[in-house]
Every structure is written in C-alpha cells, then in structure tokens.
Amino acid sequence: MILKLIDFLRDRLKLVIRLSYVGLALVVAWDVLFVSKEHAHTAVERIPGFWAVFGFIACVVIIIVSKWFGHRGIMTREDYYDN
C-alpha cells in the first residue's frame, strides 16, 4: 500500500511539485490573512510571512556555511585515522 502510494506520487511528480508550491503559498496566505499576531514575542514577527522568510534563509545559511566550513579541511578522506 505504502509502495503503491509512493509510486503513484512519483508517476505524477510534476503535479506534486506544483501542488507543493500551491501549499507553500496557501500557508503564507493563511498567515497573512487570518492568523492573529497578538502572541508574537517581538515586533519583527508581525511582518507578514516573517517565519517563511526566516525558515528559508535559515536553511540556505546552514547549508552554505556548513559546507564552506567543511571544505576548509574539516572534511577529509575516510582512512585519515588509519595507520
């Protein structure tokens, strides 16, 4: 059953991707239009779609900074510690 579902979705990959974009847009739209910001802790969180931008930037920064750090000599061959 799991297998059938995954294959079903993989066969329609383009559609799934499009629907995912629609999903992203809907989440932001819901936040902008309906969600009350009275529980926000700081002023910046009142910017519409703040957390979406935050999440995206966080992800990109983490990947780029970590890879940059890794390629400064931290990542090395697998037999490094072998004698």
Binding site: D31, W51, C59, I74, R77
Partner: protein, 598 residues
C-alpha cells in the same frame, strides 16, 4: 535496612540481567519482555507516592537510593518504557551479554535518576559508562575496540572531574553530600567541576566528540539504548542541580547549532543522528539554563519526546544497517521499494524531531523556545528556532531522501539484501512511532507527568500562531532543501572533530613510548643482561643439575598435579581484557546489591 517497602527498578534489571544467561533457550524471549516490563510497572506503582526510600547507612553516611518526586518520575517513566521498546527491538539478538550490558546500563541510569546523594550518583554514573562500553565492543569490528577504549577513557576523565567536584564540595559544606539544587547563585570551583562532569555526559562541546564516535560504531541495538540514556541522565542531573545556571543558555544554543553544522557534513546516517542528539540536547541544556518553571517543564518534556523519536530514528537507520550492512549515504539510496515500512517509521521519527504539528517535538520543543522568549532572551529564541530548521533539513529530509530516494548508490549485494527487518524490530519501531504521535496529538498524556503542573496547564501549544509559525519555517526549509539538493549530495568523507586532539595526541604519546622511552628501556635491559642475567644463568644451571639428580624423583608427582590444575585455570581464563573487565564490573554490581539489600 530499607525504610519502607520500596523496590528499586534498577534492582529488577540487575538481578534480571544476571539470571538471563542461565535460562533455557525457549524461556529467553518471554523473559526479555517480562523483566523490563516489571521495572516499568514498578515505576508506575510509585506514582503519587513522593518521598524518600531506600536509605542505607554506610560508614558515617546515609545513602539515599530512592528519592521520588515529579522530576524523578517523568524520567524514570520514559527510561523504563524505552528499555522495553529497546529490548523488543533487540529480541532477535542471541548474544545474552548484549542484553545484560544494556540492562545494566539502564540500571545505571535509573540509579542516577532515583539517587538522593552524590555518592550513590557517582556509583551509578560509573556503572553506566562501564556497562555501555560493551554495547560498542560487541560490534566486534577491529575499530570497535579502539572506539570503546576512547569512550571509556573520556568518560573516566569526566567521572574524575565529577569526583573531584564532590570531594571539594564535601569539604566546603562540611559533609553535605545531598544531591539537589547546588546553589547556582554563588558557584565555586566544586560547582564547576561537578558541572563539567555532567556536561561531558550531556555531550556539550568541547566535551562532545565521544558521542558520534561511539554511537556511530555501537551495535545496531546498542545504539538504540545509548542514544536514550547517557545524555538524558545528564540532563536530569543538570535539571536537578543547575536550574537557572546562566552559562548553560549560550552553551546550549551553541550546541544546538554545532550539531546542525556537523550533520550537514556527515555521510554516515547513524553519525548524522548522533550529531543531532547534540543539537537536540542543546535545547534541553538551554532550558535548564533558563531555569523557569516553563523551561524546566520544557526540558523534561523534550527529553521525554526525544528519547522516543531519537530511539525510533536509530531503530530505522539501524534496521537499514542490520539488513544491508551499510549505513553510509554514499552506499545507499532508492530503498523505498525494498524497505517501505522502515521508511514510514523513520519518517515519523523525522517529523517528530522536526516538531511538525501532531508529532511529539511540536508540543515539547516549543516550550523551551517560548520560555526563552518569555524571559526576553530573544537571540536564544531565534537561534534555537534556526537550529530547528536545520533539524528538519537533516533528519526529516536528508536522512529519508538519501536512504530511500535519491540516487541509488547501492551495490548489487546491498540491494539484494535490503528488506524490511524481522517482526520484533518492526514492532519496536511501531510502538515508538505510535507514542510519538500520541504525545503530539494528545497533550495531557505528557503534560500531566511534568514536574510543574500549573505551568504545564497554562501552556497551550496548539495556537493558530504557533502552528502557522512552525508550518512556515518547516515548509520553507523544505523548499530550500530541494533547491540546494545538489550541494547536499553525499560525499564519502569523514569530518574531523575535536576528538582529533586526543586521537592524534594519543599517537604522539605512542611515538614517545616507542622511540625515546623504548630506547632507554633497551639500554637498561642490555645493562641488566651483563650485570644480572649471566651470573643468574650460571647459578640456575647448577640448581637445575641438583634438581635433576636429587629432588625430581620426590616432586614429580606433585608437579603433575599442579600442572593439571594450572591447565584448568588457564582454560577458564579467556584472556580477553574486555571479558575480564566485564566480569569484574558484574562482580562489583552483585556485591553492591548484596550489600545494600541483603
């Protein structure tokens, strides 16, 4: 000697562990389930009976083995529950000693959770280290031995810091060894030494490198136990003694981000998960540092949720390793067709750790972050939120994608071997997955166990704002992942971490031992040969002649007997250092139990 009738759950596990090897084969499987279940029921029976139990007089001290209160109960509950799940997952393992080591290890953790003073704490603290190292050694690869010794040495160093701290504290307080809030307002050198002992077990950088080193090398079932107990026991100890210690907030935040950075670089799935333990424990350490009622509740809740979802993730990746023999992303990929159930279970673990609504992390992690924002520690709040984007990026996306989808890097042999694991492993994963969803979907289950009930009742995770915030962060992290997926393709490399210093430092020591010291040693031996050995040999020759001609006849019979006995003893001695330590540790544990409870 026991004040009331109160049975220590560690005792059930220790006694249970020693009986196990003597049972007939058909009885073993039911027995493996019954013993941890009894320990769990024992903990359940203590609910609502707060107090002090199991006080034992030892020389001038009164040792407290059983302190029961809210903080104890939440940890004891989840640890005994995880012991059941872990044992079910390892039910197929026929090597009894793996189960014995795992149970003694859990017994060590529970001993710390229930103890009321530092002496008992130290005793069980060391039991934990010495029992868990076998879960690494039992992997039985050449490198397992080295990893195990490194693990043991690092933990011994941490144990010594702890011991030094408590000796100093004993002096300073005039003999007070009780284990409670340590007085974070006026820290002294002993406070810091004890804290270092705890921080090392919590894997706080720079004392963290033992964790990925050992958990990546442990046996499949051993890692499931290890990921649950050592760090969370340390979190319990920190929450008990160091609540409100401000330095823990920046340390925790750094930890949360440090684990995320190394997880990006990691090619081995279980080491990636290990780095994410560091990241997740960072939230708990920060929670202890914030120290408010909400923060301590959050720490307990997150530890509770973490034990289950991290156990589940280690079970998922462990299943892949168990079936295919591979754990590196560069040897795997595209396995959804062969291991669909394992994929679903691991995904539930991934969604839980990432704090998706309806999964366990959502109701636990946010408590700590909210507590940070509430005390106006905004940078901690934002950085921890950033780390949670990283969590989803790796554990929710990278792990499932590069094992079950992505480019198929499997060799033909790996592909042929891949399949969903035996029923007991699936059952273990199923129970953990069910609990992850239960905690996330029905909040009273977890919240009713938290130590500060009023703060727990006032906290509501399912507000529109919180759901919207979380969904935006997670879904846009996913967008970033798929846009940058090429950058994340697995690289068959290892990442150097701070263990470099002691691994390479150790080599420097060996070089010293081999070259200058050995040279000095051979000079001494050479000198000895001329001065001592040659006269000795001459004398020996004379005695040998005397022996041959005079005494032999008399002694011959006796010598034969001695040789026979010697041979028997030699056979009993397997000669492997691990086994010797194992027997010694077991012996100490038995002696302890007899002493305390006889």
């Amino acid at each position: 000697m026991i004040t009331n009738f109160w049975l220590h759950p560690s005792l059930i596990l220790i006694v249970g562990a020693f009986i196990l090897p003597f049972l007939p084969k058909w009885l073993k499987r039911p027995y493996l389930i019954i013993v941890p279940t009894l320990a769990f029921l024992d903990v359940l029976s203590m609910q609502g009976q707060n107090g002090t139990f199991g006080v034992v007089r030892f020389l001038d001290w009164y040792l407290t083995f059983g302190r029961v209160d809210g903080l104890t109960m939440v940890f004891a509950y989840i640890m005994t529950l995880m012991c059941i799940i872990g044992t079910i997952y390892g039910l197929h393992v026929e090597d009894d000693f793996q189960h014995v080591a795992a149970w003694l290890y859990v017994a060590g953790s529970l001993g710390v959770i229930f103890c009321g003073d530092y002496l008992v704490l130290f005793l069980f603290w060391e039991l934990m280290a010495f029992a868990s190292v076998f879960l690494v050694w039992f992997r039985r690869r050449p490198e397992s031995q080295a990893v195990g010794y490194r693990y043991l040495l690092v933990h011994t160093a941490g144990g010594l810091a702890l011991l030094a701290g408590l000796v100093l504290r004993y002096q300073a307080t005039g003999g007070d060894l009780s284990f409670g809030p340590i007085g974070v307002g006026s820290p002294s050198i002993s406070t810091y030494l004890i804290m270092i002992g705890f921080l090392l077990n919590a894997a706080v950088p720079p004392f963290h490198a033992w964790l990925p080193d050992a958990y990546g090398e442990a046996t499949v079932t051993g890692a499931v136990f290890m990921c649950a107990f050592t760090t969370k026991t340390a979190i319990y100890a920190l929450a008990r003694a160091f609540a409100g210690m401000e330095i823990l907030v920046p340390l925790g935040v750094c930890m949360a981000l440090y684990g995320v950075v190394y997880a990006v670089l990691e090619n081995d799935s279980r080491r990636l998960l290990a780095y994410h333990i560091i990241s997740q424990v960072g939230y708990m350490v920060a929670g202890v540092g914030i120290g408010t009622e909400l923060a301590i509740n959050g720490t307990c809740a997150h530890a509770f949720a973490h034990i289950l979802y991290k156990g589940l993730l280690f079970m998922g990746c462990g299943s892949v390793l168990h079936m295919t023999g591979k754990s590196k992303f560069s040897d795997l990929g595209g396995l959804y067709k062969k291991m669909p159930r394992t994929f679903v279970f691991t995904m539930i673990g991934g969604l839980s750790i990432s704090a998706f609504p309806l999964f366990s992390g959502f109701v636990s992690k946010a408590m700590i972050v909210s507590a940070g924002f509430e005390v106006h520690n905004y940078w901690a709040g934002f950085l921890l939120t950033m780390a949670s984007a990283g969590t989803f990026l790796h554990t929710g996306l990278k792990v499932p994608y590069f094992i079950w989808f992505g480019k198929n890097n499997c060799s033909q042999e790996t592909w042929d071997k891949a399949a969903d694991p035996p029923w007991n492993m699936q059952l273990g994963m199923g129970i953990a997955a069910f609990l992850c969803i239960l905690i996330g979907s029905y909040t009273p289950y977890l919240y009713n166990m938290l130590p500060y009930q009023q703060a727990a009742a006032e906290y509501h995770p399912y507000t529109a704002y919180h759901i919207s915030e979380t969904m935006q962060i997670l879904l846009f992290t996913a967008l970033g992942f798929f846009l940058l997926i090429k950058k994340l393709a697995p690289e068959p490399k290892i990442s150097l971490d701070l263990d470099w210093f002691y691994r390479m430092g150790g080599r420097g020591f060996f070089w010293l031992a081999r070259r200058p010291i050995q040279w000095a040693d051979s000079c001494v031996s050479e000198g000895y040969r001329y001065v001592g050995l040659i006269p000795l040999m001459t004398t020996a020759q004379f005695w040998s002649w005397f022996d041959w001609n005079a005494i032999d006849g008399v002694v011959d019979g006796l010598a034969k007997t001695v040789r026979g006995v010697g041979g028997l003893v030699r056979r009993a001695q397997s000669g492997q250092l691990q086994y010797n330590i194992f027997y010694a540790v077991s012996f100490v544990a038995v002696a302890l139990v007899l002493y305390v409870f006889a």
